[in-house]
Subunit: 180 residues, 2 copies
């Protein structure tokens, strides 16, 4: 159920799907869905928490399995690429667009997701700066924000285009600006 809802949000947005859509795909009724999540707000919160947790695990795996700041950044971009390959937007990216219409708990969860990503990015950039493999102009925080923004924006725009490679070229161009 969360899988179906997640996909619907990532493709159509939080205001672009209904309980009826989920119910139809699962072959159950809307009423059954309300048993698991009393309201759409609670469902939304659960979706973000699960997504953020999974994302956090992926970042931990990168830290554990991949050596070298640039390789870590490439792996980070690969996470986004995988999401996009299914026609999906980043869950929190699409929720950011609908931010003004979201209930408070969802807003806070979205904000936390971005903050966590920037913290991780800043650590990788710091590592790259220390070993000389990356050249960062300005502060680490600003550079992290720029990368996160650039990737979210590239996902957003590339979904309006019919060129699937578009995201990858934009993302690579972004990372290449960090090459000494």
């Amino acid at each position: 159920m969360l899988d179906v809802a997640e996909r619907l949000v990532q493709v159509r947005g939080f205001n672009g799907f209904s309980y009826a859509d989920i119910a139809r795909e699962l072959g159950i009724t809307k009423a059954s869905l309300h048993y698991h999540f009393p309201g759409k707000a609670e469902l939304g919160e659960a979706l973000i928490h699960r997504y953020a947790a999974r994302f956090g695990e992926a970042l931990t795996e990168i830290d554990r399995d991949i050596a070298g700041p640039r390789a870590k950044l490439d792996a980070y971009v690969a996470i986004y690429s995988n999401v996009l390959s299914e026609g999906r937007m980043c869950l929190c990216g699409i929720l950011a667009a609908e931010y003004a219409t979201l209930p408070d708990p969802m807003r806070e969860a979205v904000t936390r997701f971005f903050a966590a990503n920037e913290t991780w990015l800043a650590a990788v950039l710091s590592e790259g700066q220390a070993d000389g493999s990356l050249a960062i102009r300005g502060s680490l925080v600003d550079a992290s924000e720029m990368i996160l923004s650039g990737l979210e924006g590239a996902m957003l725009i590339s979904r309006t285009s019919d060129e699937p490679a578009r995201f990858s070229t934009a993302a690579q161009g972004l990372l290449d600006t960090l090459t000494p």
Copy 2:
């Protein structure tokens, strides 16, 4: 009426407002709105066309009044900053997030808007490359896509944060990557 609708879309998204919202703000009835635009799809199309036309004029003014590629890019970023200062997202940026739910004519208009922006950006970058004031890695098209994506993404993310300066620092960082 278009002004009110435009603001509602930019703040809440196309699926996040209704005819009733516009009617309430204008002090008229929903039925009156249908006289001007038979359906929401037609209203949406009109909004994009007007927005794109206004944007195109702003780009023409930049070309006419501002000398130097970097100064032109700064002026380009300033357009985005002004939009964001009112808590709004770029109209086509927020529509890109809802792309899967949009009627075909709106999709095409959004796609054209981005293409026009990239064409303009590529011309400015080309000028900067020719006079040596900008250093572009990779193709002009790729660099243009990166800038457009970066700005749209920075708008998207900065609206989830309470730091108003966030967009500007990300945008400046993006442009600074083009400094020789």
